[in-house]
Amino acid sequence: MSLVLDSGEITRALKRISHEIVEHNHGTDSVVLMGIPTRGSFLAARIASIIASIESPLEHGYLDITMHRDDLRLRPPRPLAETVMPPSGIEGKHVVLIDDVLFSGRTIRAALDALGELGRPQSVQLAVLVDRGHRELPIRADYVGKNIPTSIKETVKVSLAEIDDKDCVEITGGEQ
């Protein structure tokens, strides 16, 4: 097991992403954050509070994408997480999807489908804490905390204090 990001580095990465989101969108007007459960939701809440402190408050919500996945027949049934819409919705907004790890891209594809059911955003952007490569779909992130080249056999484990009692990103399982 090797540590790739510690608590301080995660915080600095989230601060940089927050600044980039504000800069890219020329402020926070009609920008909403949508976190993808489980850990993307916590990251969305953190980024929302960072942006509130550096610019102005913005709305955030959570988007459970399980029912839109294309690999439901390849894994055990997953429990569903809560979907919470931002108070003023996503119609015509610049939606920033937030997830912890970008890997195959299939979660994001499912998230784009799920968003499409909820409304028509003006634009959709993607922020991830870790991009580990190995994409299976033509999807890329607009904001990346850290690019981590990995072997397909390795597992990237993101721990967040909200549910894992600590902040860190680790890689395991490369040796086999």
């Binding site: 029912m67 390849l74 894994r75 059911e117």
Partner: protein, 317 residues
């Protein structure tokens, strides 16, 4: 989980996971999204050998909201009335490629027979078999109770539930007793002696012949339909007599705890086991049970039709 045949087949944790899934589906489908793509391309067959309004409509709606294709089969007007057997009917469905078969049948054990026979590879969901079980009804009743008494609780410890009426013919009672006990509720079945099954002691719940005795103590009062169609002998002198002893009228309704809820799986015999005023009172959650039925059946279809057992085989199944 491949089939849902009996509450006995699932653990308390699995039941709670179905209820949690149903709660999230409610949250997910309450806004603009009415339909989810989850079961696109899968086929759900409603195989109904007995009459049903609620259960069939509910499974139909649940499957459609998950984008599955639904085929409805009613024994009336099919080749069953020409004498076709369950086996031949099942094999026909298999040849058409059913992913799930929702079966209601007058014979106890029909769903289990279909699941274990090897005639079909589909997931089997028991939607009522004779006087045996009706597991999705018990799950939707538990979901309804949970919404009223703590929507995230993982057990029903401390809840007092009365199940009143035609216990002997009721698959709803059997499934509910099994599930409520599994979740830790304190269950009492109440009925005239003729409508209490032999060997009730083995159910592991309290029973009583007197509805008036402890009425104030219950949190949930579940009235059962008097199943006149299954009664070929006299179980009670007449309807008025039954009503007087075991019907939920206004007087009894008034004696219930302030927060108590009244449930009924439907269809109701108004004026027999439940008075019209009780059925339409604010305590009655009968219509909620119907809406919750769709959510719980969506959750069951989701859990049975996704996962590793369901990996596509590549060929024509």
């Amino acid at each position: 989980m491949k089939h849902l045949l009996s509450i006995n087949d699932i653990t308390a944790a699995e039941a709670i996971s179905i209820l949690d899934t149903a709660a999230q589906l409610e949250n997910l489908t309450s806004g603009t999204v009415k339909k989810l793509p989850t079961l696109r391309g899968r086929t759900v067959v409603n195989l109904f050998f007995e009459d049903s309004t609620r259960t069939r409509l509910s499974f139909d709606a649940a499957a459609k909201r998950l984008s599955a294709d639904v085929t409805n089969f009613a024994a009336k007007g099919s080749s069953v009335s020409k004498g076709e057997s369950l086996k031949d009917t099942a094999q026909t469905l298999q040849a058409m490629g059913a992913d799930a078969i929702v079966i209601r049948h007058g014979a106890s054990g029909a769903a289990k027979r279909l699941a274990e026979s090897g005639w079909v590879s589909a997931s089997i969901i028991n939607a009522g078999d004779g006087t045996h079980e009706h597991p999705t009804q018990a799950l939707l009743d538990a979901f309804t109770i949970r919404k009223h008494f703590g929507s995230t609780r993982s057990d029903f410890v401390g809840l007092k539930v009365a199940i009143v009426g035609d216990i002997v013919h009721s698959r709803v009672a059997r499934s509910n007793v099994l599930l409520l006990k599994k979740l830790g509720a304190d269950v009492t079945v109440i009925a005239p002696p003729t409508l209490i099954p032999y060997g009730i002691e083995s159910w592991g719940v309290a029973h009583s012949f007197n509805l008036d005795e402890d009425l104030e103590s219950f949190d949930v009062v579940m009235m059962l339909r008097v199943q006149l169609e299954r009664m070929n002998e006299a179980y009670f002198p007449n309807g008025r007599e039954y009503s007087r002893g075991y019907g939920l009228d206004e007087v009894r309704l008034g004696r219930l705890k302030a927060h108590a809820i009244v449930m009924h799986p439907g269809p109701m015999n108004r004026g027999l086991e439940i008075s019209a005023a009780s059925a339409d009172s604010v305590r009655s959650v009968v219509l909620e049970q119907v809406s919750n039925g769709v959510l719980v059946r969506m959750a069951v279809l989701y859990q049975l039709l996704t996962g590793l057992d369901q990996a596509p085989t590549g060929g024509l199944a």
